[in-house]
Symmetry: C2
Subunit: 339 residues, 2 copies
Amino acid sequence: MSVNKDLILLGHGSGGRLSHQLLNELIIPIVSGAVQSAQNDAAILEPVAGRLTFTTDSFVVDPIFFPGGTIGSLAVHGTVNDLAMMGARPLWLSVGLIIEEGFGKTDLKRILEDMRGAADAAGLKIVTGDTKVVPRGKADKIFITTSGIGVIEHDFTIHGANARPGDAVIINGTVGDHGIAVMAAREGLDVGTDVISDSAALNGLVSQIIGACGNALHVLRDPTRGGVATTIKEIAQQSEVSITLREEALPIKTAVRGVCSILGLDPLFVANEGKLLAFVAADAAEAALATIRSHPLGANAAIIGSVEAAPAGRVRMETSIGGMRSVEMLTGEQLPRIC
Amino acid sequence: MSVNKDLILLGHGSGGRLSHQLLNELIIPIVSGAVQSAQNDAAILEPVAGRLTFTTDSFVVDPIFFPGGTIGSLAVHGTVNDLAMMGARPLWLSVGLIIEEGFGKTDLKRILEDMRGAADAAGLKIVTGDTKVVPRGKADKIFITTSGIGVIEHDFTIHGANARPGDAVIINGTVGDHGIAVMAAREGLDVGTDVISDSAALNGLVSQIIGACGNALHVLRDPTRGGVATTIKEIAQQSEVSITLREEALPIKTAVRGVCSILGLDPLFVANEGKLLAFVAADAAEAALATIRSHPLGANAAIIGSVEAAPAGRVRMETSIGGMRSVEMLTGEQLPRIC
């Protein structure tokens, strides 16, 4: 096999014969198994009962392979989680690939297999896609944009504007794992095997939380870019409430804390890709915590804070030494290309 | 205002404060008008009656501004047209932006305004989106991925596998305008004012064709990348029929023909972004043609070929001098980054 046959060429994005070969021989067999006669410009969706929800995310993570995942699994998890945070069951996914000329087909195959594996595990189907190729140097390896459609099969109001005084703030595990794992991989840091991305599909966990809490679940949000701090601040602003976090309660891996302290990063601002923040009415909080802890993605769950009525939009942190400090959104770019 | 305030920075993709500013001050007011409390991770869609259809396309066109459009209007038209080719009414659009650090906010504003204008004109709403920023040199200005959802409000079968012997092949106007306009703009060629992209939303025209033809309309497909030749070949293969095109019948602007002949390009392989191919039963063909011609996007419509039973998958061209030549899919990349 010549070198060229192993690489993505500009012609693979032409819409012509090479595009068809790539689609029929590599992409479709891996991601969807659709047959050629189904290759129209769009997918027709099966009817479902419930409100539909729709989201999109672009992924530009560097490096594309990192401890705990790849840009492929991340692109599925990210969009699945955006749907799950609406309390929806993810159903269908679209995939837009932008590939740099010269990218290896072996790497592409690995990424696509990861997408399929992540989609299968989360129970949704990849139903439509598009591939573009840009000349060498005009993109960095591969960018993936996924869009997802899910169905909301309950009548509860789960919404960023729905946090209420008295709510407990629960997180399903350790903070900052994804961002630090990607950053360490990018910089070639030797950080041991404990620093691994938490990239995961949260829809199964969400389904259990909804089942356990019902109306007592007020807000779900995944603290991705900008980290827990930015997400909590968003919710405080949307819901016009005050939120107090307790530093001691925040689960952080020792290795992650170590890397953060060496690099001068605050784990509260570091991206997560398999974490959710659940705001739950106080009287349901312990039951919710127990439910989350019983799930494989929630073993290290903790109640990390609580909601007060005022002042609207304020977030503060009760520090380990008993003080209070203000928490604001991430300013600037702490870690670029983290997802 | 300092120079930095006019440019997109890495921090605008951080998910933190700069991201929120960009979203709230520039993106949301232009594309959707949503309020902050609606800013959840996904959009909730209104219920509709009919089968839903879902598609995605990534846009990497170079240059991003060209005669007849921008990457913004193109990204809306392309996805609208994929939905329209399924006989669907486009309803909702998602937008994923990948922006190179240092990109101008003025250019971004122009692109977003174009997206909003194109979406309004096509009657669909931009309901969700995402923005990533990559360091300078890691992408080329801006890439846009749009995904669309539409509703099919009829029971007709319009499908690439549905071409039937006897069908007339109709195109709604001149061939190759988009590809040549983009290529000329990229190369700085002086080709006069007649070479302009045909980028347009075809859903209004499709709605009229469906109304006029009903069950007599068998296939709709937009000949984008790979041009008319590649699209016709795809349909011949999917439907397992033979298709004969008539060279004399193909509408081609004189200026486009001129540029093609200078550059050694065959307009049959050049991308279109406002054209459709309609396969219509013979006895409905003249009525369909009249309907298309009465629409602003169909003034130069023509019947350019016909379908025979066999051999399956063959496409040939009856040349102006009376001969027959074989038509195959585009091989290689005739014009990279055309959409």
